[in-house]
């Protein structure tokens, strides 16, 4: 297939070989790890910062505003300036707060979002770890972030934060289930939990096209549940600025607050990449069965562009949600999950199983 011309596996492999040929094994290992670590760190920071900027721009355009436009050309370095400002701010600790947990919480949210990044296939042959249970892994890791939110709210010794924490507790017990079950649909279709395999299985067409109605339903459910799991509006109950001032991070200041912020955006990125990978074919170019010429033309666009393009669209949809809908109430949050998303999911899975059994999907 044409898209294989952009396979990055030889490149990474050659770097690997180069290091091991020129350095002792231990040092080569350390050097390789350092390179990967630094690359991901920079990637993480840049994506996080620019997502913040993108959100501000998107919401501004939706609200007939311009958004950041002072720092740099069209505000392109606005968030970087913000980051430095936050770095230079004093960290305030609250009297009687549970200091250990208070300091631990930002670590947990960042670790959770950073670990998730490890399993994402960015392009052909470009992923840190190709788990054979990739979907499962991302599900597990991304649900840890809420624990950080819970801890942050609880340890702050602030009543608003506590209520926010309790709300995030409710979030824990709900949306993870829907995320898992909606991803299951594609797992049934493709017969694998490995993200690279799932992407490869979409070489002829994406699952959202091949899997037609159940896949579309699963996608909608996934986006809804994913938005909820990342604590974003309209599910930002733990934060709920009009009710709880700032919810769980009321007492966080400076860079610690920035990490919650960053983690929220990275979680969004994570959810969007999973959605793009699983439903929209990840880095796989748009292929229509039977149109060879079209497919070849599409193959000329590098996979990494496809991946980021799709992710950006899903992120845009999630931002669109946030800037359109009013916030749900806590009981409605649970009602939505248990009375709507879960039954829909269960029925959807049976339907998919039937479709797979009968072969009614586009093979």
């Amino acid at each position: 297939m044409g898209y294989q011309r952009y396979d990055l596996a030889p490149l990474t492999h050659s770097i690997d070989l180069f290091l091991y040929n020129h350095l002792p094994a231990t040092w080569a290992f350390i050097a390789e790890m350092t390179i990967i670590g630094v690359v991901f760190l920079i990637f993480y920071a840049v994506i996080g910062l620019y997502l913040v900027l993108a959100e501000r721009k998107v919401c501004a355009f939706m609200q007939n505003r311009i958004g950041p436009n002072r720092v740099g050309w069209f505000g392109v370095i606005q968030t970087i300036a913000d980051l430095f400002k936050l770095l230079m701010k004093e960290l305030i600790t609250i009297r009687k707060a549970d200091k250990f947990l208070f300091n631990l919480a930002p670590f947990i949210v960042i670790i959770a979002s950073f670990l998730g990044l490890a399993a994402i296939p960015f392009a052909m042959g470009l992923h840190a770890i190709d788990f054979n249970i990739g979907i499962f892994y991302i599900m597990a890791v991304s649900s840890v972030g809420v624990v950080g939110v819970l801890l942050a709210g609880w340890s702050s010794n602030n009543k608003y934060s506590l209520i926010g924490a309790m709300r995030s507790g409710a979030q824990i017990v709900s949306y993870e289930l829907s995320v898992g079950l909606s991803l299951l649909v594609i797992a049934i279709y493709s017969g694998s939990l490995q993200l690279s395999t799932i992407v490869e299985s979409q070489a002829d067409a994406w699952w959202i096209i091949k899997g037609h109605i159940p896949a579309i339903i699963a996608f909608i459910v996934f986006i809804t549940a994913g938005t909820a799991e990342t604590n974003r509006g309209p599910f930002d109950l733990a934060e709920a600025e009009s009710e709880l001032t700032a919810g769980f991070h009321t007492e966080y200041s400076g860079i610690k607050f920035a990490f919650f912020f960053l983690a929220e955006y990275m979680n969004m990125f994570l959810i969007a990449s999973v959605a793009a990978t699983v439903f929209w074919g990840g880095w796989m170019p748009l292929h229509i069965p039977g149109c060879e010429g079209f497919n070849n033309a599409m193959d000329f666009i590098p996979p990494i562009c496809w991946y980021f393009g799709k992710t950006a669209i899903v992120i845009l949809i999630m931002m669109w949600f946030k800037w359109t809908f009013p916030r749900l109430r806590i009981d409605q949050l649970l009602t939505l999950e248990w009375k709507y998303l879960l039954p829909i999911n269960l029925v959807n899975i049976i339907v998919v199983a039937l479709i797979v059994l009968m072969g009614w999907y586009i093979k």
């Binding site: 919401c59 009009s242 009710e243 001032t245 009013p326 916030r327 109430r329 806590i330 409605q332």
Partner: protein
């Protein structure tokens, strides 16, 4: 006693979980404080505390002449400044038994209705924001700006106009005034369906507002809840109908009445009022006499004859009463302002207890409280 034991003892002594919402809280739209005792997320009991912006306007009025009082009434309910000005002016005119020119009556009513729309637009924005839909805020303010531009062109100020004075108006309206209003109505009639598409019809919004904070008609009367909040409960309290003033007798409009009395219908009542206000405006613009008289002959120093005068006016939030006791001097002996929000605020405990915090925000938003109007 160990630390743990202390906590337990404290809990037993003070079993209520009390949380302060306000004075510095995004949902109170000003410096109002609710002391909320909670059980989980449920509001058990709520005590409103006010007075953070108490400026003693009633006391200050006692040392100011009647034209000077006008500029203080602006600062009561700053979102319906024209109506407040009109209330005092009407009261003074009634006392002096002055008849203002027809044209002035029309202009006053036009200003009131414009002001009402502007106020409801801001309320809509803030209500959407209370419920977490931040974009509402910008849409509402964007459209409100058009009205404020009309105001600025004619009166030179956007919020606090002091334009309606005893005897008439401060000065004549701008030549573009009529055109500006017709343009605005044309513009806003297109935007209002957008508001409905965006928020009113939204399933989340309806679930957040329907069936909570139900105010019965009896309670509305008993607590003196006026304005759209009262009318959503079926309390026919529109002063424009009950005691028509200015140009309201000349126009044909309907009082928005609903019987449900919940948060959603308080919302709908205001949305309908905006439409109705535009209808009134169109009629007033058509019927408004030409000419350029904007004031009736007034003495340079206004002295009210000894006695008591009361004037009721319908502001954007309800009934504003001005009670002037005069001893024949050029300053009022006592000037009492019965402000709509003052009465409206104190229903909060009854409405919000038994609901969740999120509902408390929605209910207080639906009452459309303006804090300086409460504190005076």
């Amino acid at each position: 006693m160990s630390e743990e034991k202390k906590v337990i003892v404290e809990l037993n002594e003070n079993p209520e979980y009390i949380i302060n919402m306000g004075p510095q809280h995004p949902s109170t739209h000003g410096v109002l404080r609710f002391e909320v005792s909670l059980q989980g997320e449920m509001v058990k009991h709520l005590i409103p505390h006010c007075g953070y912006v108490h400026r003693g306007i009633e006391k200050m009025c006692e040392s100011l002449t009647y034209p000077q009082v006008i500029h203080l009434t602006d600062r009561l309910d700053y979102l319906s400044a024209h109506m407040n000005n009109e209330a005092v002016s009407l009261c003074v005119e009634n006392a002096l038994e002055i008849e203002v020119p027809e044209r002035v009556k029309y202009i006053r009513s036009i200003l009131s209705e414009l002001n009402r729309i502007a106020s409801h637009q801001l309320w809509w924005s803030a209500f959407g924001m209370d419920l977490g839909g931040l974009t509402c805020f910008f849409y509402g303010l964007r459209d409100r700006e058009k009205i404020l531009d009309i105001f600025e062109e004619s009166f030179g100020s956007r919020l606090l106009h002091s334009f309606i004075v005893p005897g008439g108006l401060m000065h004549d309206i701008h030549p573009n005034f009529k055109k500006g209003i017709t343009d605005f109505i044309k513009y806003f009639r297109k935007k209002l369906p957008e508001y409905n598409r965006f928020l009113t019809g939204n399933v989340i919004f309806q679930a957040r507002t329907k069936g909570l904070g139900i105010l019965s008609k009896e309670d509305a009367i008993n607590y003196g809840i006026t304005g759209p909040s009262g009318r959503a409960s079926g309390f026919s309290c529109d002063i424009r109908k009950v005691e028509p003033y200015s140009a309201y007798p000349y126009v044909d409009f309907k009082e928005i009445l609903y019987n449900e009395g919940d948060t959603f219908y308080r919302y709908v009542a205001r949305m309908d009022e905006m439409v109705e206000s535009m209808n009134i405006l169109e009629q007033l613009i058509d019927k408004m006499p030409d000419g350029n008289e904007y004031t009736s002959k007034m003495k340079p120093v206004i002295k009210l004859p000894e006695g008591e005068y009361y004037q009721r006016v319908e502001t954007a939030r309800g009934e504003l009463g001005v009670y002037i006791v005069s001893d024949g001097n050029k300053t009022p002996y006592r000037l009492k302002l019965r402000t709509p929000n003052f009465s409206n605020l104190f229903i909060m405990n009854k409405l919000a207890s038994g609901y969740k915090i999120a509902d408390l925000v929605a209910i207080s938003g639906s009452l459309d409280l303006v804090i300086p109007d409460i504190d005076r």
